[in-house]
């Protein structure tokens, strides 16, 4: 009886008490750890390919794990990362008739320099010979005394250096390796550089006809495919810009191996061999060769021509271990998931599966938090995470009910929407008319009526937030001013409110990508806003990206609404140089201005980052009054943060790095460009 009583009367309260205790203890154990952050992502488990992140979240995760050689920090400044010192220099090579002449040239040059004590004046570091070549190295790539040195040895008659370009329909690279390289005549080819797979440029010094015949014969004798050969130009000496990057000592991969310049070299070679459309490939196209020096602590990048933005484009390109790259050639996505490459960033991957990723700080003493990423988070899971306080961040914010959130953080802008005007259009060719349309654009109304998190874009043609960004203000929304400009330009409004010149209406077509709601909606609103000043705008939606690209290629548009991806490069030649204004080029607006061309070329060749802002201002002083494009807004992703999450939401955008890196009360650093006198 006692047992029955105990069981019947005791079991339900016992179970209830146990349940209460278990629930409370469980709740206590689920409280957020102080040293950790939990992030919920709606996307599936990422590949974590640091070179091609598929999303903003993946990009920011890989930034925590991997380190680049150089970094652009939150303030838009170039900062050291794996490389703590970088400098530009110049290498000049002159070829002479024989080795003796080269030695004599060297002696003459040394005598000249030493007599006048011109080492510093000419920025000459070293002289040397190699067979019949005189090798000179100048410490300054900008103001070097190259011409003085060449003048000194001119009377010894250096051989002319000829640049040749060969194009072939098939795979030239493979054929060259198979047929030309084994040929003894290839020793007379001083440099070879492949432009893709079907073209190459090579350099010959001195008489070259026999070499050219041999090369042509070697490449044509089998399949008879014709090779086109052009002489690009002749110079007295080969001048090659050189970028030296010194790896910071003491850096190591997460597997304990030291980081060396060999890793950086392997990474750049890997990217050269990959077909992915990365911004850094613009740099790699200009690279002649990569060398490892100083016992593996220095990477020397030798360029074919002066390409100033190389430094900026190399920034934020993650470096992977050479050993991993060698064992995973080809860059297939599965390689990154099957065998995750070790990084050199502040966090290392502790575990990764299809549902979650755990990152642990490499240095335990720096108060860096542990990070957990939950993938494929459903609205239910996100809501549970928020309600139970077990999640710090939900990304994107649309996954959760916004009414329960107090903080929204948006990511940095990676692109913006712009309207490119076809300046060769009979109607839109007038810059005053384009200015009037800019005045007629009410950006605030546009942002309010368009879905997503959008930010105001400035009028500059360059990316915002960088040290050289000019932040040129947009033309203010002013309908009265817009109408006045139109009237003065000969486009007064008629009784129907349509602006009309002597022979035509102000009527044009705005082309926009039709597969995206943001673009379609923006185009509609713009058309309505411009109608207020008398412009009759027909919105044409391109069914797919191919059609849009085709119309851009053939210049079959009046105005086009496109995304402009932000890059750290200050080279704007592709977009505004008159050489690209013809169909097939990338100067879609058709701007042709010799003065702008010169400024663009000077800017592209600028190697000193500190001088870039000035050149940018000069360029924009000429370009922006032409109103070649109308900038609209930047697009951002929103993340929902629970109250109490450390860190604020800076205007430039918020990143995981800011959250994962302990805040330090340091003054904003100046540009950390270290141009130092070589040893």
């Amino acid at each position: 009886m006692i047992l029955a009583r105990l069981l019947i009367l005791g079991a339900p309260p016992l179970i209830a008490v146990l349940a209460c205790w278990a629930a409370l203890e469980s709740k206590r154990s689920h409280e957020r750890p102080k040293d950790g952050l939990v992030v919920m992502l709606a996307e599936k488990a990422p590949v974590l390919n640091p070179f091609q992140p598929a999303s903003e979240a993946e990009r920011q995760i890989t930034e925590l794990v991997h380190q680049p050689l150089l970094r652009i920090d939150d303030r838009g400044q170039l900062q050291p990362a794996l490389a703590d010192v970088w400098r530009w220099s110049q290498r000049v090579t002159c070829w002479f008739a024989d080795a003796g002449t080269a030695v004599r040239a060297r002696e003459k040059l040394q005598a000249e320099v030493e007599n006048g004590n011109r080492w510093a004046e000419w920025h000459l570091i070293s002289t040397g010979t190699e067979e019949n070549a005189l090798l000179l190295t100048f410490s300054d790539a900008v103001e070097a005394g190259v011409q003085n040195a060449l003048d000194t040895v001119a009377d010894l008659k250096p051989l002319p250096v000829a640049f040749w370009r060969m194009e072939q329909r098939g795979s030239l690279r493979g054929e060259w390796k198979r047929r030309v390289t084994p040929n003894p005549v290839s020793k007379r080819i001083r440099r070879v550089w492949f432009d893709g797979d079907g073209a190459c440029e090579f350099i010959l010094a001195g008489p070259s006809q026999r070499v050219l015949d041999e090369v042509r014969f070697a490449l044509e004798d089998k399949d008879g495919a014709p090779s086109a050969l052009h002489l690009l130009g002749e110079v007295a000496a080969l001048v090659e810009p050189v970028l030296d990057l010194d790896i910071r000592p003491g850096q190591s991969w997460h597997d304990g191996q030291p980081v060396t310049a060999e890793d950086a070299k392997a990474t750049l070679e890997y990217l050269q061999a990959t077909d992915s459309p990365l911004p850094v490939r613009d740099v790699l196209r200009h690279v002649q060769s990569l060398e490892v020096q100083n016992g593996g602590s220095r990477l020397r990048v030798i360029f074919r021509r002066r390409y100033g933005p190389a430094l900026a484009l190399l920034a934020d390109v993650p470096v992977l271990p050479a050993a991993w790259l060698r064992t995973h050639p080809g860059g297939r996505p599965s390689a990154f998931t099957r065998d995750v490459p070790p990084g050199a960033g502040g966090h290392r991957i502790a575990s990764l599966d299809s549902r979650s990723l755990i990152l642990l700080p490499v240095e335990s003493g720096r108060e860096m938090p542990r990070l957990l990423f939950n993938f494929a988070a459903s609205p239910l899971m996100a809501q549970i995470g928020i309600k139970t306080g077990t999640v710090d961040l939900v990304w994107p914010a649309r996954v959760v009910d916004r009414t329960h959130l107090t903080q929204l953080r948006f990511t940095p802008a990676r692109q913006r929407l712009v309207v490119l005007w076809n300046t060769r259009n009979p109607v839109l060719g007038n810059p005053r008319l384009r200015a009037a349309l800019a005045h007629a654009t009410d950006l605030d109304a546009l942002i309010r009526a368009t879905p997503g998190r959008l930010g105001r874009a400035d009028a500059s043609v360059f990316a915002p937030g960088l040290w050289f960004s000019s932040g040129q203000p947009r033309l203010p929304h002013d309908l009265k001013e817009a109408r006045r400009i139109l009237a003065e330009a000969g486009w007064p409004q008629d009784v129907n409110g349509v602006a009309r010149s002597a022979d035509r209406e102000l009527r044009f077509t705005l082309l926009a990508p039709g597969h995206d709601e943001l673009h379609a909606r923006t185009a509609e609103i713009l058309a309505a806003q411009w109608r207020a000043v008398g412009a009759v705008v027909n919105v044409e939606l391109a069914a797919n990206a191919e059609i849009l690209a085709e119309k851009l290629h053939d210049r079959r548009f009046d105005a086009v609404l496109v995304d402009q991806r932000f890059e750290a490069s200050w080279d704007q030649t592709p977009w505004w140089h008159s050489g690209q204004a013809t169909p097939g080029g990338t100067n879609f607006c058709g701007i042709t201005n010799p003065q702008i061309d010169l400024l663009l070329e000077a800017l592209a060749a600028e190697l000193d980052p500190q001088r870039v802002p000035e050149r940018v201002r000069d360029l924009e002083a000429q370009l922006l009054p032409l109103h070649p494009m109308l900038t609209l807004f930047t697009t951002h992703e929103e993340a929902a943060a629970v109250p109490g999450l450390p860190g604020d939401n800076p205007p430039s955008g918020w990143t995981l790095r800011a959250l994962a890196t302990p805040s330090r009360n340091e003054p904003p650093p100046a540009i950390q460009l270290k141009l130092r006198v070589p040893e």
């Binding site: 629930a23 203890e25 549970i384 139970t388």
Partner: protein, 442 residues
């Protein structure tokens, strides 16, 4: 739970009958899915993970049923000396809980416990960073809560059903109060030594009845709480019309029910006397068989036909048993002896009783159908579209099909609770009508 308590006694060799019923149901599912027997791939049944799932579910069910039966017996015994009003009120509360849709209870729990109070449900929690130091009692508490949360949730309607059923059937036991008091036996001893042994067969009958249906309701609980058990497996299989998985799930389900019946026999002993041959039909997990058939049958056949067939078959057999017991009490033989004509005898003595009995049966069938429809729709929300718009309006909030819908229920459980309340009221009304109309043998 069932809405309408079981009227008949469990038949002999119930486990064997269940296995035979399962074989027939498997054949029906194979026939409806137009497959031959050898096309069934029973690889799942060889998986350890599948049986671990069944084991987890079985553990939860045992806890829930133990809690419920102890609670029901405890309440009955503690209130045995109270008046009819108190016991009637208690029984009514039990009926209310028994009629509450499990989906509404589960989503209401999620909405209130997590949404309002920020409490954890282990199976729903997102992944966490490994704790720097984790005490054993914390780990134990988490495991305990993982199992107790669904167990207590399931125990709500189970307790309601048992409280109602045991208090209702308690008068069937011999009233020994007077004789025991005359013999000077203390009240405590009278209750625990004399009344409890009499109640155990009554509790055993209801417990066995719940053993058949509780796993089916547990499908909904597991699905809502994402508990990694047999129910979640079954819910996914039914939603995805995975015939192999459904067949394996049916086998797993019958194994669990058989095990539960074994536990029930150990805990409360035998139940006697056994019901008749017809009553054996009532003692099958009809809702499970019906849902399995509904999931695989061709689109041209309305799925609810199967459910109604199951409701009527289960209820018909049950009520037939009750009618036989009632018929013996009617003065039909006496009327025949005094020379009454058959029609006259039927009209005077049986017709009115039969009419009441039939009406009670129909309303009980509707009550059971309402609750079963909600369970089926919660498991497979696509079936809501097959309902009439008036019914679908109230069932749809309980049939949550997307993660977005689940998040909405978590943020605001009121629509789910409202719909659950309406369904519960409808089922309770029909049950009460049936109970009031139903003629009794005593």
């Amino acid at each position: 739970m069932n809405g309408v308590p079981t009227l008949s006694q469990p038949p002999r060799r119930l486990a064997l009958r269940l296995i035979v019923g399962c074989v027939l149901a498997l054949l029906a599912v194979l026939a409806l899915s137009q497959r031959a027997v050898d096309e069934w791939n029973p690889a799942t049944l060889e998986s350890v993970l599948f049986w671990k799932r069944c084991g987890s579910s079985l553990a939860v069910l045992v806890v829930a049923l133990s809690f419920s039966v102890c609670l029901a017996l405890g309440l009955e015994l503690l209130t045995s000396g109270f008046g009819g009003l108190v016991r009637g009120l208690l029984s009514f509360c039990g009926r209310v809980l028994a009629c509450a849709p499990v989906a509404a209870l589960a989503w209401g729990f999620v909405g209130l416990w997590i949404g309002r109070y920020g409490g954890p449900v282990e199976t729903l929690m997102p992944a966490e960073l490994p704790a720097a130091e984790s005490m054993w009692w914390t780990r134990a508490a988490r495991v305990l809560w993982e199992f107790l949360a669904p167990a207590l949730l399931l125990a709500i309607p189970l307790s309601g059903e048992l409280v109602h059923g045991i208090i209702r059937d308690a008068p069937v036991t011999n009233a020994l109060d007077l004789s025991l008091r005359a013999r000077g036996i203390p009240r405590v001893a009278a209750v625990w030594r004399h009344r409890l042994p009499q109640l155990l067969p009554v509790a055993g009958k209801h417990l066995r009845s719940l053993c058949l249906i509780a796993p089916v309701y547990f499908i909904v609980v597991e699905d809502v709480l994402r508990f990694m058990g047999w129910g979640a497996w079954m819910a996914q299989s039914l939603r995805g019309t995975d015939v192999d998985a459904i067949l394996s799930g049916m086998v797993g389900g019958v194994c669990m029910v058989t095990a539960l019946l074994g536990v029930a026999r150990i805990a409360v002993g035998r139940v006697g006397p056994a019901g008749g041959k017809m009553s054996g039909l009532a003692w099958q997990p009809w809702l499970l068989w019906a849902m399995a058939c509904m999931a695989v049958m061709p689109d041209v056949v309305p799925p609810w036909l199967v459910l109604w067939f199951a409701v009527l078959l289960a209820g018909g057999a049950d009520w037939h048993q009750a009618w036989l017991a009632l018929e013996q009490r009617l003065p039909l033989e006496a009327a025949r002896v005094v020379g009454g004509r058959s029609v006259s005898i039927w009209w005077r003595h049986a017709a009115r009783v039969q009419a009441r009995f039939l009406t009670a049966w129909i309303t009980a069938a509707f009550a059971r159908a309402v609750i079963w429809i909600v369970v089926a729709c919660a498991v497979r929300p696509a079936w809501v579209d097959e309902l009439s718009p008036h019914v679908a309006r109230w069932v749809r909030p309980l049939a949550i099909s997307t993660s977005l819908g689940a998040a909405a229920a978590l943020a605001d459980p009121l629509p789910v609770l409202e719909a659950g309340g309406v369904v519960a009221l409808a089922a309770l009304f029909l049950t009460e009508v049936s109970r009031i109309i139903q003629p009794r043998a005593t």
